[in-house]
Each structure stands twice: as structure tokens, then as C-alpha cells.
Subunit: 222 residues, 2 copies
């Protein structure tokens, strides 16, 4: 087998690993939202456990990227694929972390489903989940239009974050006891994690655009 075809096989494997990692975080975030909405601490514990696999996957992909960069001088498109991977996995890993963060707070809320939950956190969660699904899909199918459309959706999550914040302030104003205060703070953190998940999905989409065009956030870098 020539050096070149070994390189191509490794690149193909890199792509498969990324698709696998994408599937892992898509599942993690969907499950963490389900656990939160159903106050299901058993599912929440599972997510925390499986976050280690996401971390391992990141390390494995990272090592493969560095080996590929070292072994053979990559041409422009291959280099873009490898550097896209190196950057993208950081955002993927963070999404996995935030799914675990939400799961931890679900366990702390322990069956308490506060009133405010009925309002806009589920809406934020829906959009964040859709964005994660879309960013993974845009990468797999190299779908530039989907990537660009997903980047636009970030404002929706940011706007909802402010709505949730106002809801929680109201919840605290109406005479808060220790339990309400605890819940409000935890829900605020959950809203923050969802907002960050949206940001990371946007970053991933921006790497999908870069992979295709060499443009990152409208700057030509390769």
C-alpha cells in the first residue's frame, strides 16, 4: 500500500470518528434535556458516566490529527480537514461537558420540577438540541446552507436566555425561601449551559464553512 493511500484511509477514519463523536454529543444533549424535563435522575447519571467516552474520543481524534499532520505534508484541502477536526472536537467536547453539567443539576434538583421550568427553558432546550443536531448533520453532509442557517439561529437562544433570566427574577421576587432560591440559581445555570451549547454549535458550523471555503468568520485563513 502506498503512503498516500494509507494517508487517505486515515483521513477517512478521522471522518468516521468525527461522525461518531457527533452522534455521541447529539445523544448526550437530547438525553440530558429529557432527564431534566422528566426529572429522571437515572438517565442523568448515565449521561455523566458516558461523558468519559466523549472525552476519550476527543483525545483519540486529537492524536490521530497530530499523527496525520506529522506523517505527511498535507495539501490544502487535507490540511483544512485536519485542522477543522482539531478545532471542532474542542467544541464537541464542551457540548458533551454541558450535557453532563445539566445532568448534574438535574440530580441536584432531584425530582423537584419548579414552576419556572414550565416556561421557556424547554424552548431553549429544543432550539439548542436542534442546533447540535444541525451542526453535526451539516458536517456529515457537508451542507453549507444548513451550517449558515444554524449560525443564524444563535440569536433565538440568546433572546430566550434573557426571557428565562427575567422569569427567574420574577420567581425570586415573589418571596423566595431557601428551596426557591436554590432552584432559581440552578435553573439559571441550566439556561447558561443551553446558551453555551448554542454557541458551540455555531462554532462547529463555522468550522464546517471553513472546511469548505477556507474562510473562517469571513476571514480567509487558508
Amino acid at each position: 500500500m502506498t503512503a498516500r493511500s494509507t494517508f487517505d484511509m486515515e483521513l477517512e477514519q478521522l471522518n468516521l470518528d468525527l461522525i461518531k463523536m457527533g452522534g455521541m454529543i447529539e445523544e448526550a444533549i437530547a438525553k440530558s434535556i429529557r432527564a431534566l424535563e422528566q426529572s429522571n435522575t437515572a438517565i442523568a447519571s448515565e449521561i455523566i458516566q458516558s461523558d468519559h467516552s466523549v472525552d476519550d474520543m476527543e483525545k483519540q481524534i486529537e492524536a490521530r490529527c497530530l499523527r496525520l499532520l506529522m506523517r505527511q505534508q498535507p495539501v490544502a484541502r487535507d490540511l483544512r480537514a485536519i485542522s477543522t477536526a482539531l478545532k471542532m472536537i474542542t467544541d464537541m467536547e464542551r457540548i458533551g461537558d454541558h450535557a453532563a453539567d445539566i445532568a448534574e443539576l438535574t440530580i441536584r434538583l432531584d425530582g423537584n420540577k419548579p414552576e419556572a421550568m414550565a416556561q421557556h427553558i424547554p424552548d431553549m432546550a429544543d432550539i439548542a438540541t436542534q442546533m447540535v443536531r444541525a451542526c453535526v448533520q451539516s458536517f456529515i453532509e457537508n451542507d453549507l446552507d444548513l451550517a449558515k442557517a444554524t449560525i443564524q439561529r444563535d440569536d433565538e437562544v440568546d433572546d430566550l436566555f434573557n426571557v428565562v433570566r427575567d422569569e427567574l427574577i420574577k420567581m425570586l421576587e415573589n418571596g423566595s425561601d431557601a428551596e426557591t432560591a436554590n432552584q432559581a440559581i440552578d435553573l439559571m445555570m441550566i439556561a447558561k449551559y443551553l446558551e453555551r451549547i448554542g454557541d458551540h454549535a455555531v462554532n462547529i458550523c463555522e468550522w464546517v464553512v471553513f472546511y469548505d471555503t477556507g474562510l473562517h468568520k469571513e476571514t480567509q485563513i487558508l
Copy 2:
């Protein structure tokens, strides 16, 4: 000039850029803490403005890294330098973002210096600032011991985060009006940003260790 010495000059320039970016975020975080503690909205506005320069610096370094990777097949140590840079700037840029996040909340708090501030947020801020300074220094001086010592300090920030959380819950329990609720939520976010700044400083230290040893979080990846 030979291709090799051009490459070496570019590597040296990469190093200088990283030092410069390190200085920028060190200043941003120190200033954002000062603005917060002094309720100085003028300084806070400056920080938000200058975050654009940090973002530009990230793009510039990123472009240089990719050019270096493409132009010449790097040997192991050079490749480590370039991939360290590529990863490290993501964490540096996030620290800059969080300094701007804190500045934004300082403006929102607008001269109100809530009681809870007197307690443990300044302690968190001190440690986070020290960690950022240490991670930049460990990189510049290639000081592995300092990097490892700084990684250990993350627990201090995490512990203080929980202390601050408890303080804010107490603040909310003691009968909260709209203003108290708003302040508590904003301070909670500031504590979260400080905790994240600590995490990013740790990440940078882990890249410093990787640069020297090829080990990342105890896994040999290069």
C-alpha cells in the same frame, strides 16, 4: 534565505504573537476585576472594546499556524509548537471573552456594589487572575513546574464557586426584592465566568505540558 530559516523566523514570530496575546488577556482579566471591584463602568467599557483586538489576534495566529503547517512538513517539536498554539489560542480567546462578560455585568450592576461582593467573589477573582498570569508565564518561560502547580489550583476556584453560590442563596433567602434578585443572578454569572477562567487557565497549562512532553492530560499523543 533558505526555506528552513524562513520557517524558523515564522515560528519565532508565532511565539511572539502568543506572548502578546497572553499579555492582552492578562491585562483584560486584571482590568475587568478592577472595574468590578471599583464599580468602574468606564474601565468596563474599555475592556469590551478591546476584546475585538483579542479576537483579531486569535485569527491572525490561527492563520499563521495553518500556513506553517501547510508550507513545510514540521518535525515533531515544531509540530507540537504549532498545534499547541492552535489549541491554546482557543482558551486564550475564551478568557478574553469572559473578561468582557464580567465587564458587561459590571455595567449592568451600574455602581451598585452589592453586599455579597465583599465576601468571596474578590477571592475567586484573585485566584483566577493569578492563574491566568501563571499560565501565560509558564508558556513564555516554558516553566513546567509552574504549569503543573497552576493546574492544581483549579480546585481552589471550584471550592470558592460553591461558597459564593451559598452566599448568594443566603442573600436571596433574606427576603429578596427585584434589585437583590437581579444582583444575585448577575453575581452568580460573574462567579461562573471566574470559574471558567480558571478552567481555561488550566487548559493552557496542560498545553504547556504537552508542548514540552508530548503528553496531554497524561496521554501520549505526539
